[in-house]
């Protein structure tokens, strides 16, 4: 992709936008995602504050298992570090043989993130029609975050496969955009963990 002409009129091909377009759009996605997260936060705070029927978080309804919840945060953090290393390497135009390894590490972290979070959701052990809106919202929020991790993870996998198979060179814009996406979701996950675990 060429960044020389944003119109594509002098570039040979401009099908998916240049690097600037990609990074900009990725940030727009983050902004839209923020609205989604704020909607869920509003629901959580509103229901908690009003505690309708006294059953926001009834007695006997526990929180998600602590150890597993922490592990589910550790892997995304490892992913952030790996993706930061990828971006750092690519942005300095280094032809590093370790780039493939770093990408693989990020992919493994993403796979483990998804796997652990699926396992975590199976460990909630809530009967949703009687566990109060705390459990309802926690389940929905974790499901939304799981979906987002899977979505970004698939994007990461496609970038890694292109690089590893030599069919596509990883651009700085792609490296930056995926780092920002993964970091954002990781950050939100940590905030949601704290909210669900300690602010109910």
């Amino acid at each position: 992709m060429s960044d020389v002409s944003p119109t594509g009129l002098t570039a040979i091909e401009e099908v998916e936008g240049g690097g600037r377009t990609l990074v900009f759009t990725s940030r727009l996605v983050l902004a839209a995602n923020t609205t989604l997260q704020l909607s869920l936060l509003f629901a959580f705070l509103y229901l908690r504050a009003n505690n309708f029927g006294g059953v926001f978080h009834p007695n006997g309804v526990g929180t998600p298992p602590q150890v597993l919840a922490l592990i589910s945060l550790a892997f995304p953090v490892i992913g952030v570090l790996a993706l930061w290393a990828v971006w750092s390497t690519v942005s300095k135009s280094r032809e590093s043989s370790a780039l493939g390894g770093m990408l693989l590490l990020a992919v493994v972290a993403a796979v483990l993130t998804g796997a652990v979070r699926i396992l975590l959701m199976y460990q909630f052990n809530w009967t949703l029609n009687s566990a109060g809106t705390y459990a309802d919202l926690a389940t929905l929020w974790y499901a939304v975050l799981l979906g987002e991790f899977i979505g970004v993870g698939l994007w990461l996998l496609s970038l890694a496969m292109g690089h590893l198979r030599g069919t596509d060179r990883l651009s700085t814009a792609h490296a930056r955009a995926i780092l920002e996406q993964w970091t954002y979701i990781t950050g939100v996950s940590i905030a949601v963990y704290l909210l669900i675990q300690y602010a109910s």
Binding site: L9, S39, G53, L128, D136, D168
Partner: protein, 630 residues
């Protein structure tokens, strides 16, 4: 070009058929998994299946449809590390080589997508309009005559929801997609596949919604209020899935438009010289991208409630119906401006062409639209004045809502300023422009009463609200849409409609529209609630007046469609290259528009409204280099 098309390309030729097959297979798989494997189905009416089965069936049918259309080919190829599509493949996907088949498959040409949108929206508007005719026929008598209360409510819900779905894309879909890239001087949208996706989400959304009639319908109207939504039969699932797909389409379309406008403008075109229609699309796109996630959150909660018995909106389970109302209207009120702001943009785009004067106060007009967009995010609770809002919040939302009349008034001033001492040509599109301002003025005035807490208390949920809404959306957006179809059809198709005949049609639609909704304003003031099948006998004369005008309105709208089909499809009346003598860049490129929009590079951009000097919006420089492989 290669003489041997790839398998993917050969399959793409049959995209629509494969999409339908994929949808059927997806539904069967989803329905089976949802019904058999997901526990906790609700204890409502299960004679036709279960909520998890229906919802998962719908979701996988949409995925299957898109897979059949070929939307998954590219991402799966990337996941497997396959080579990127060749330039030849990209050119094919862009529709190079032409042919009618482009319109029935996935394509990345924004012009083809614009026309696909136009046809799809007209079809669904026609279906929704038929629903309105049935409603008004039923209301000719004060007691139920044709329908019962349940089927009447489903009819009202179907009409309103389908119209809302289509209205959200009625202007940006056809005209935004077709003209924005040309107006800003680029070859294509920032993400052409995404653009195609936003269109192809529409048919499944509309059809899924319509399928509610096979599942018992839904009684909530387009607002889907809980806990009624929780208590509804399986037809409610159609509403939820349809709205989820539309929300996705609106959000993705917004992201793509913003990225295109802000990062792909031609060199020499600062924001301050963008055509005002592009500005309206930009403002609207921000609304769509930032508001639709709130709708998706609400819809997800309701889907969870119907499949896993969560209690987000049920007070006895710790929830609150007020939560749905807040999330829904946080999306729903900006949604109204998603309808109207592009209409403002189109009107201000067309106005100088017919007044033969520069657009008066271009920057002020842009400011007006930006102001409307910003304020639209802080007014949503005026929908809740009588349904749960804390009394202390009412003054703020009353004030913020009434504030919207300020930027709206500014847009009116721009229009009036443009008319001042104008050499106005009263051509048919100009008649629609005048009608837009007349109708929207009534819509705006009636809106003031609804933003005012004391008067809203007596008018809430009455026909007054319904008439106000139709004055703004139908009187505003749909009149702008009809004017724009007449205006832009020569550029989009190379064909034109009989302008003389359309004048009669215009007066018919204008008079019957006002006859219908002025009657309903009166009915509302007299206290008739909306969404009811029976009413007090003394309201029959006004209801009959509304119904008779409405049926005539339906006929006049059908006449518009008839003229369109006869002149453009059957008779193929050839249009002049620039029949309105516009200076806009979209009229400076050849018709039909070249595959990649420009055969010469546009340079030296200026505001496209320089009718005092007659200078076009852009000069054209050297020839555009051909795409390799093209």
């Amino acid at each position: 070009m290669s003489s041997r098309p790839t398998l993917a390309r050969r399959l793409n030729e049959w995209g629509l058929l494969l999409g339908v097959i994929g949808a059927v297979i997806g539904f069967i798989i989803g329905f089976a998994i949802g019904t058999k494997a997901i526990a906790g189905s609700s204890d409502l009416d299960h004679s036709l299946g279960s909520d998890p089965g229906i919802l998962l069936g719908y979701a996988l049918s949409a995925v299957g449809f898109l897979a059949g259309m070929g939307f998954l080919n590219y991402p799966i190829g990337r996941l497997l590390g396959a080579k990127r599509p060749s330039e030849e493949d990209n050119a094919y996907m862009h529709g190079e080589g032409g042919g009618l088949g482009r319109y029935f498959r996935m394509t990345t040409d924004h012009k083809v997508i614009g026309l696909q949108y136009l046809v799809m929206i007209l079809v669904f508007l026609f279906v929704g309009g038929l629903g309105a005719m049935f409603i008004r026929t039923e209301l000719l008598t004060p007691v139920p005559s044709v329908a019962n209360a349940q089927s009447y409510l489903t009819l009202v819900g179907l009409h309103s929801t389908l119209m809302i779905f289509m209205a959200s894309a009625a202007i940006i879909g056809p005209f935004g997609n077709y003209f924005v890239p040309i107006m800003i001087g680029t070859r294509n949208m920032a993400f052409p596949r995404l653009e195609a996706l936003t269109f192809w989400l529409l048919p499944p959304a509309g059809l899924i919604l319509l399928s509610t009639v096979f599942l018992g319908g839904f009684t909530t109207g387009w607002t889907g209020y809980a806990p009624l939504a929780d208590q509804n039969v399986l037809g409610m699932d159609s509403y939820l899935m349809g709205f989820a797909l539309i929300g996705l389409s609106i959000g993705l379309s917004g992201l793509n438009m913003i990225a295109t406008i802000l990062t792909k403008r031609a060199p020499g075109m600062p924001l301050s010289r963008m055509p005002i229609f592009v500005w309206s699309v930009l403002v609207t796109s921000f609304l769509g991208a930032l508001a639709s996630p709130a709708l998706i959150a609400a819809v997800l909660m309701e889907m969870f409630s119907r499949t896993y018995q969560t209690t987000f909106f049920v007070p006895s389970g710790g929830g609150s119906p007020y939560l749905w109302e807040n999330l829904f209207w946080f999306f729903g009120h900006p949604e109204v401006y998603i309808f109207v702001i592009p209409a403002f943009g189109l009107i201000m785009e067309m106005l100088p062409v017919f007044t033969r004067r520069p657009l008066w106060g271009y920057r002020v007009g842009v400011g007006g639209m930006v102001g409307v967009g910003l304020l639209s995010f802080v007014v949503w609770q005026h929908h809740l004045f009588v349904s749960g809002i804390a009394p202390s919040l009412r003054p703020f939302y009353m004030f913020s809502t009434e504030m919207i009349s300020v930027p709206t008034g500014i847009i009116y001033l721009v229009a009036l300023g443009s008319l001042w001492r104008a050499r106005t040509r009263f051509s048919t599109p100009m008649l629609f422009i005048f009608a837009f301002f007349f109708n929207f003025l009534i819509g705006g005035f009636t809106g003031v009463f609804l933003s005012d807490v004391p008067s809203d208390f007596s008018l809430h949920a009455s026909y007054f609200v319904q008439a106000h809404f139709h004055y703004t959306i139908m009187g505003g957006e749909v009149f702008a849409l009809m004017g724009a179809i007449v205006y832009y059809l020569p550029k989009m198709t190379g064909r034109t409609m009989d302008i003389r005949l359309l004048r009669y049609q215009f007066w018919a639609v204008f008079l019957t529209f006002n006859g219908t909704f002025l009657s309903l304003i009166a009915v509302g003031i007299l206290g008739m609630p909306r969404r009811v099948i029976s009413y007090a006998a003394y309201l029959q004369p006004l209801n009959d007046s509304a119904s008779i005008f409405a049926l005539a309105l339906g006929l006049s709208m059908a006449l518009f469609l008839g003229i369109l089909i006869w002149e453009v499809v059957i008779k193929q009346r050839v249009a002049a290259a620039n029949p309105w003598e516009s200076l806009g860049v979209e009229w400076q490129v050849p018709t039909p528009v070249p595959t990649f929009n420009f055969d010469r590079v546009p340079v030296a951009w200026s505001l496209p409204y320089d009718y005092d000097t007659g200078k076009p919006a852009a000069d054209f420089g050297p020839a555009v280099p051909a795409l390799s492989g093209a």
